[in-house]
């Protein structure tokens, strides 16, 4: 039915989101920087002063966990409520519904970009650049794909059961501990490792640390599991969304 220009539409909606969010903040993009820096400082204090961690360059180690994880939390959370929040659009414009959660996730990528810049500049100052950085776009792209899939899934479910957003919030709290944000993934007992690696967020953090922190190429098996899991979740999200979208109108 709708034969428009998807890319142009998505670009317009992402820019719109970005402008609305930042026009009302006097510090603008600085907020995106402040958030991970505050988190980093808190974790740094807790894990060097209370639980003594002897990892070298612990701030960089932490940022490799905090940046992908905070993107995941914010993007999945806003993605989940995106359809209900944009009821005006859904009920009034016959635009393909998939566009709504996807653009919500993509506009969080602007935050992510700012935070990645912070992470990489700290990495350059403390560790220096290395050739394995070419893997970074692949890792980020897979994480974004995974979050888009999750957002499609939960946004569709949230229309029918409004508690979904609270379940998503709880899930992100659980995942904070099941993703190596402030600990080393090698501390995870080997018997859990095969399942653990299938979580694309954990895989993002593990691969980031390999590349940026250890200056080594990412482990192939971790990447392949990440590709598999991200694609599966994305396709599942699309499928569920596609099945449920004809009923959105009546439920929002």
């Amino acid at each position: 039915m709708w034969r428009g220009d998807y890319l142009y539409l998505i670009q317009n909606l992402v820019v719109k989101d970005f402008k609305i969010r930042y026009r009302n903040m006097s510090l603008g993009v600085l907020w995106s920087l402040l958030n991970p820096l505050v988190m980093m400082t808190v974790y740094y204090f807790v894990f060097t002063q209370i639980f003594k961690s002897n990892l070298p360059n612990y701030p960089l180690f932490l940022l490799c966990g905090i940046v992908p994880f905070s993107f995941f939390t914010v993007a999945w959370g806003t993605g989940t409520t995106s359809i209900v929040d944009n009821a005006g659009l859904i009920k009034r414009v016959p635009v393909p519904r998939e566009v709504v959660p996807v653009t919500t996730v993509l506009s969080c990528c602007i935050h992510l970009l700012v935070q990645v810049m912070l992470l990489l500049s700290i990495a350059i100052f403390t560790k220096g650049l290395n050739r394995h950085w070419v893997w970074l776009p692949v890792v980020w792209a897979l994480e974004i794909l995974f979050v888009c899939g999750l957002a499609l899934l939960s946004a569709a479910l949230n229309v029918f059961v409004r508690d979904t957003r609270y379940m998503v919030e709880s899930a992100t709290w659980v995942l904070l501990f099941l993703v190596p944000v402030f600990y080393d993934s090698n501390l995870m007992p080997p018997k859990y490792r095969p399942i653990y690696d299938y979580n694309p967020i954990a895989a993002t953090v593990i691969s980031l640390r390999k590349i940026v922190y250890e200056a080594q190429p990412p482990v192939g098996s971790t990447l392949w599991k990440m590709v598999g899991a991200s694609l599966t979740v994305f396709l599942l999200g699309l499928l569920v969304f596609h099945r449920l979208k004809p009923m959105f109108y009546e439920h929002i």
Binding site: M1, W2, R3, G4, D5, Y8, L9, N12, L13, V15, K16, K19, I20, R23, N24, G88, L89, I90, K91, R92, V93, P94, V95, V159, F160, V161, R162, D163, P246, Y249, E250, H251
Partner: protein, 255 residues
């Protein structure tokens, strides 16, 4: 234009549409209760057995009292929702003005809103670049185009929304009750544009409570009452029938 003259623009065939009355209760608790009691939600029939065909070049008004199903009918024609039963067929590009600036955001400027809205309606980057000036000129917004939308009057928002919708160059234009907001001069301009539309063989489906608007824009009317189609025919005839049914005497003699 690839649309053949023989193919109708809009076809409704035995269309039924109902809504569940869940009163916004959509928490897990409510779902579980539904499941346990295996109770079916009470349904409200917005449209029953609606069948009509609109050919290209026709302009049709949908009339009826509040809650008669007019907006549901327009939403079905815009493909925002699907019928429970029956078939809705649309042939051609649609632009719908269902709400004053659906998809508009008060914090964005007029220009930003025009671009976003045009892309929502399906315009490509090139088309927007080519037609942007035309849209702004038609709306007569002038320098305000670079001001945030919240500084606009509702008439200005309507003018902008209308300008975008007609510049999309749709085959079918669907209008729900929004033209009333503009002033007389702009209404005359809209009317002229709609006339050009009709001469170009395009189709209009609209809802309005203003008889003057209808008389100027439409030639045919469909009358809905509690979701049923009461009449379909030349505008004047259907409006007269509707008016006499709604008049106090009719209510008295019927009651």
């Amino acid at each position: 234009m690839s649309i053949s003259d023989r193919q109708p623009a809009i076809v409704f065939q035995d269309v039924w549409k109902s809504f569940a009355r869940h009163a916004g209760q959509l928490l897990i608790r409510d779902r579980l209760i539904q499941l346990l009691r295996s109770q079916r939600l009470e349904k409200f029939h917005a449209l029953r057995e609606i069948s009509f065909t609109v050919h290209h070049g026709e302009s049709v008004a949908v009339i009826g009292h509040n809650g008669a199903g007019k907006s549901t009918l327009l939403n079905l024609a815009t493909n925002l929702c699907r019928p429970d039963q029956g078939r809705v067929e649309i042939h051609g590009r649609i632009a719908a003005l269902l709400d004053l600036g659906a998809g508009f955001h008060p914090d964005l400027t007029g220009a930003e809103n025009v671009r976003t809205n045009a892309s929502l309606l399906g315009l490509s980057r090139r088309e927007v670049r080519e037609k942007f000036d035309e849209m702004v000129a038609f709306s007569e917004i002038g320098d305000f185009i670079n001001e945030p939308l919240r500084t606009y009057s509702s008439g200005m928002v309507m003018r902008l929304a209308f300008s975008v919708a007609v510049t999309v160059d749709p085959d079918i234009l669907i209008i729900d009750e929004v033209l009333g907001v503009g002033d007389v001069a702009f209404f005359a301009k809209c009317q002229e544009r709609i006339m050009q539309f009709r001469h170009a063989g395009k189709t209009i489906l609209c809802v309005s409570h203003s008889n003057a608007t209808l008389k100027d824009l439409c030639t045919r009317a469909v009358w809905l009452d509690h979701g049923r189609m009461m009449d379909d025919g030349p505008l004047a005839q259907v409006v007269d029938a509707y008016k006499s049914a709604m008049s106090p005497q009719a209510a008295y003699s019927a009651g």
